[in-house]
C-alpha cells in the first residue's frame, strides 16, 4: 500500500534516476509517470501470493442469503443505503452491519499483489466467519493513482483538477482501468458522505487531507515553486487518502466511493467550503460535541475500550512529539541544502581568485561536489517530508478519527441510557394512570411503553453493534498501522542509504583531485 504513496522515489535504487534529477528536472512529474506505469508490475515472485495461487485456483464465490430482518435494521441505522447495486456482494458476517455489505475476499479474481505491499495471503476455503474474525484477508486488487494536477479556469474561479486513475480487476467496477478528473472539494465531499454514513456506527473513516483556509485560491493561481510544492503536497495527500479509503473493505463497497472513482461528472460538493454556511455549522457542531463529550459519564463495562482509548491517547501524544522533531529535521535539511549551495558558489569564486593553478582547480572541483551534495540534501529533505513526516501527520489525523469513533460509541450508549430512563418514566406514568383509573390514558401509556421498549431494545442492539464494529475496526487499524509504519520507515531508511551511497561516489571522485594539488 505504501507503494502507491511514493512521490520522490530517489531513484528507487537506480542511479540513473539521480542523473536525471540532477538536471533540475521536476522531481514529481517523472515520479508520477513511473507511478502510473511501474507499480502494477505483477511480480509477486518474492511474495506470499505464490502460496495462495497454489492453494486455490481462484476464488470460490459462496452464496449467502440476505436475512430479511437485517434489511430493517439497515433502513433504520443508516441514512443512505443503496441496495440496488447489481454487484452487491453477499454479507460476510452473520451480524447486522449497517449500510452496504462488505466484500468477501472470495470474490476477488486474481489476487495480484502490488510489488511493495506486504499483505497476508488469503485462504479461500475458510468459512466466512473465520475470515471475518481474523480480519486478515485483506488483499484488494485495486490501485489508485492521483496525478496530473491541472489548473482549470481563470482568475478567482480557477481551481486545480487532479486525475484519479483506478486500476482494478474487481468485478464491481465496470472497467478494469479508468480515470476521471476531480477537484479538491470533490474529495472533501466524498469524505463528508462516507463520514456521515459510517462514522457514527463505528467505522474508522480515513480523514481527508486538510484544507488551508483562504490560501488555496491564492496558491493555485500562482505559478512559482512554493505553489508547485503545495500542489504536490496536496496531490500526494489525496492519493494516500484514496488508497487508505479503498483499503477499507466496507468503504470499498460504498456506491458513493464507486461513483467518485468512476463517473465522469460529479455534482459539486459546495458544503465543503470551510467558510460556507455548512462549514460554519460543522464547526459549531464540533464544539457542541466537545462539550457533550465532557458531560457524558459512561459506565464502562468493557475494560477493553478503556484500555484502547488510553493507548490511543498515548500513541497520539508520542506521534505528535515525533512529528515535531521530523518537521524540524525537514526544515534544517532544507537550510543545509541552501547553505551548501551558497558555500559551493563561494568556493567556486575562491577557486577563481586562487593563483596557484592546481589548488584553483581543486577548489573548483570542491565547489562542484558541494553543489551535487546540495542536490542530495534537497532530495533527502523531500524524502524526510513525504515519507516520514506525512506518514506521521496522516496517522495523527487517523487517530483523531479513531477517537471520534469511540466518542460515537459513548453517544450511542447515552442514547440507549436515555431511552431506558424514558421507558422508566413511561412505566411510572402508566402506574399512575392505573391508580387514577383513566382507561383511554392507560391505553396511550401502554402504547408509549411498547414504543419505548422497542427503542430500548434498539438502543442496546445499536450499542452492541457499534462496540463490535469498533473492536473489529481497531483490530484492522492496528494491523494496518503496523504494516504502514514498517513499510514506510523501511523505505525512508532506504532513501538514507541512497544518499550515503551518492556521497561516497562524490567524495571518491574528489579525493584524487585534492591529492593532485602540487
Amino acid at each position: 500500500m505504501a507503494a502507491e504513496r511514493e512521490p520522490p522515489p530517489l531513484g528507487d535504487g537506480k542511479p540513473t534516476d539521480f542523473e536525471d534529477l540532477e538536471d533540475g528536472e521536476d522531481l514529481f512529474t517523472s515520479t508520477v509517470s513511473t507511478l502510473e506505469s511501474s507499480p502494477s508490475s505483477p511480480e509477486p515472485a518474492s511474495l506470499p501470493a505464490e502460496d495462495i495461487s497454489a492453494n486455490s485456483n481462484g476464488p470460490k464465490p459462496t452464496e449467502v442469503v440476505l436475512d430479511d430482518d437485517r434489511e430493517d435494521l439497515f433502513a433504520e441505522a443508516t441514512e443512505e443505503v443503496s441496495l440496488d447495486s447489481p454487484e452487491r456482494e453477499p454479507i460476510l458476517s452473520s451480524e447486522p452491519s449497517p449500510a452496504v455489505t462488505p466484500v468477501t475476499p472470495t470474490t476477488l479474481i486474481a489476487p495480484r499483489i502490488e510489488s511493495k505491499s506486504m499483505s497476508a495471503p488469503v485462504i479461500f476455503d475458510r468459512s466466512r466467519e473465520e475470515i471475518e474474525e481474523e480480519a486478515n484477508g485483506d488483499i484488494f486488487d485495486i490501485e489508485i493513482g492521483v496525478s496530473d494536477p491541472e489548473k482549470v479556469g481563470d482568475g478567482m474561479n480557477a481551481y486545480m483538477a487532479y486525475r484519479v486513475t483506478t486500476k482494478t480487476s474487481l468485478s464491481m467496477f465496470s472497467k478494469s482501468e479508468f480515470s476521471v478528473k476531480r477537484r479538491f472539494s470533490d474529495f472533501l465531499g466524498l469524505h463528508s458522505k462516507l463520514a456521515s454514513k459510517y462514522l457514527h456506527v463505528g467505522y474508522i473513516v480515513p480523514p481527508a487531507p486538510e484544507k488551508s483556509i483562504g490560501m488555496t485560491k491564492v496558491k493555485v493561481g500562482k505559478e512559482d515553486s512554493s505553489s508547485t510544492e503545495f500542489v504536490e503536497k496536496r496531490r500526494a495527500a489525496l492519493e494516500r487518502y484514496l488508497q487508505r479509503t479503498v483499503k477499507h473493505p466496507t468503504l470499498l463497497q460504498d456506491p458513493d466511493l464507486r461513483q467518485f472513482l468512476e463517473s465522469s461528472e460529479l455534482p459539486r460538493a459546495v458544503n465543503t467550503q470551510a467558510l460556507s454556511g455548512a462549514g460554519i455549522l460543522r464547526m459549531v457542531n464540533k464544539a457542541a460535541d466537545a462539550v457533550n463529550k465532557m458531560t457524558i459519564k459512561m459506565n464502562e463495562s468493557d475494560a477493553w475500550f478503556e484500555e484502547k482509548q488510553q493507548q490511543f491517547e498515548n500513541l497520539d501524544q508520542q506521534l505528535r512529539k515525533l512529528h515535531v522533531s521530523v518537521e524540524a529535521l525537514v526544515c534544517h535539511r532544507k537550510e543545509l541544502s541552501a547553505n551548501t549551495a551558497a558555500f559551493a558558489k563561494s568556493a567556486a569564486m575562491l577557486g577563481n581568485s586562487e593563483d596557484h593553478t592546481a589548488l584553483s582547480r581543486a577548489l573548483s572541483q570542491l565547489a562542484e561536489v558541494e553543489e551535487k551534495i546540495d542536490q542530495l540534501h534537497q532530495e533527502q529533505a523531500f524524502a524526510d517530508f513525504y515519507m516520514f513526516s506525512e506518514l506521521l501527520s496522516d496517522y495523527i489525523r487517523l487517530i483523531a478519527a479513531v477517537k471520534g469513533v469511540f466518542d460515537h460509541r459513548m453517544k450511542c450508549w447515552q442514547k440507549w441510557e436515555d431511552a431506558q430512563i424514558t421507558l422508566l418514566k413511561k412505566r411510572e406514568a402508566e402506574a399512575k394512570m392505573m391508580v387514577a383509573n383513566k382507561p383511554d390514558k392507560i391505553q396511550q401509556a401502554k402504547n408509549e411503553i411498547r414504543e419505548w421498549e422497542a427503542k430500548v431494545q434498539q438502543g442496546e442492539r445499536d450499542f452492541e453493534q457499534i462496540s463490535k464494529t469498533i473492536r473489529k475496526e481497531v483490530g484492522r487499524f492496528e494491523k494496518e498501522r503496523v504494516k504502514d509504519f514498517k513499510t514506510v520507515i523501511i523505505k525512508y531508511l532506504e532513501s538514507l542509504v541512497q544518499t550515503q551511497q551518492q556521497l561516497i561516489k562524490y567524495w571518491e571522485a574528489f579525493l584524487p583531485e585534492a591529492k593532485a594539488i602540487a
Partner: protein, 418 residues
Amino acid sequence: MRACAGPRLGAAMMEGLDDGPDFLSEEDRGLKAINVDLQSDAALQVDISDALSERDKVKFTVHTKSSLPNFKQNEFSVVRQHEEFIWLHDSFVENEDYAGYIIPPAPPRPDFDASREKLQKLGEGEGSMTKEEFTKMKQELEAEYLAIFKKTVAMHEVFLCRVAAHPILRRDLNFHVFLEYNQDLSVRGKNKKEKLEDFFKNMVKSADGVIVSGVKDVDDFFEHERTFLLEYHNRVKDASAKSDRMTRSHKSAADDYNRIGSSLYALGTQDSTDICKFFLKVSELFDKTRKIEARVSADEDLKLSDLLKYYLRESQAAKDLLYRRSRSLVDYENANKALDKARAKNKDVLQAETSQQLCCQKFEKISESAKQELIDFKTRRVAAFRKNLVELAELELKHAKGNLQLLQNCLAVLNGDT
C-alpha cells in the same frame, strides 16, 4: 575543565584508525596543523601542553624545549592567558624592524559564552524532559564545550609555533620573555582609552591604506600580489562565513536525529503492538547515525571552516605587510621630493639626504623580505589547503561508509524480522 592538547607540530595524522563512532577522538587528532610544513626545529620547540578553563578565562601552559643559549634551561613551562598572547602579537606589529614580515595572526579570544548559555538553559529545563533525554543532551553539550576548548588551545598553539618557526621572529626578546618569564607578565587588556586609540589608529590606517593603494607599483610581483590578495581576502571571508553556516546547519540536522531517536524510543517502549521491536531498532539506528552526522559536521568545521578562517586572518596579515611596504614606498618618494626641494633651496640638504637614505633602506629591506614572505605564504597556503582538503575528503568518505554500513545492517535486521 582540563584538556591536553598533545599533538605535536607536523606530526602525521593517522585518521583512519578510529573504528567506533566516538565523538571526541577525532578532536584529539584532528585539530592540529592548520599550517603545515613548519620546520620543527630542535633549536626551538613550543607547544601548549595543558590548559585550564576557569570561570571566564583560560590558562594555557606554554611548554618550551630549546637548545638555544638564550634560555636558562633546556625545557620549561609557564602559564599564560589570552591577553598575554595579544600583547606579544601587538608588540610584533608595532615593531618597525618587523615591518617586512607577515606577522602571524593573533589567536581569537576564547569564546565559551554560547556554550555556557546552552548548558545553563539545559539545567533550567531539566524538569521538562525525561532522564534519558537530559543525559543525552548534557553529553552533547559537554562535548561541544570540549570541542570549542580544544579549538582555542589549538589556535593559540599555532600562533606560537608560527613565531617559533620564523627565522627572525623567533629571536625576538619579548617572545623569549613570554616563553620563559614565569611570573605574570602584568599585561592587562587594553582599557577604554587605549581601545579608542586603537579604533582611531585603524581608521587612519584604512584611510591611509586607500590612499596608499592608489599608488601603482612599479614592481610587477607586488602589483600582482596586491590585486590578488585583495580579491582573495574578500573571497576567503565569504567562503569562511558560508562554510560556517553550512557546518552549523549540519549540526542542527544531527541534533534533530537525536530527538527523533528519543521519540522513537518512547514509541517503542509504549506501543501495544509488535511494532515495538521495530521502533526500538530504528531508534537505536538514529542514535548511532546521529553520532556520525555530528562527526561529519565537526570534521567539516575543522578541515574547512577553520582552514578558511585561518587564511582569512593570514591574508589580512599579508595585506598589512603590503600596506606597510606601500607606506614605506610613499615615504621614500616623499623623502626624494623633500631632498630635491632641499637641494634646490640649498637648505638642510644633509638632513634631507640622511632622511632619504633611511627611507630608501627601509623600503628596500621591506621589499626584499616581503617578497620572500609572500612566496612562503603561498607555499604554506597551498600545502595547508592540500592537506585539509585531502583529509576532509577522506573523513567524509569514512563517515559516509560508516553510515551506510549502519543503515544497511539495520535494514537487514528489520527486513529479516518482518
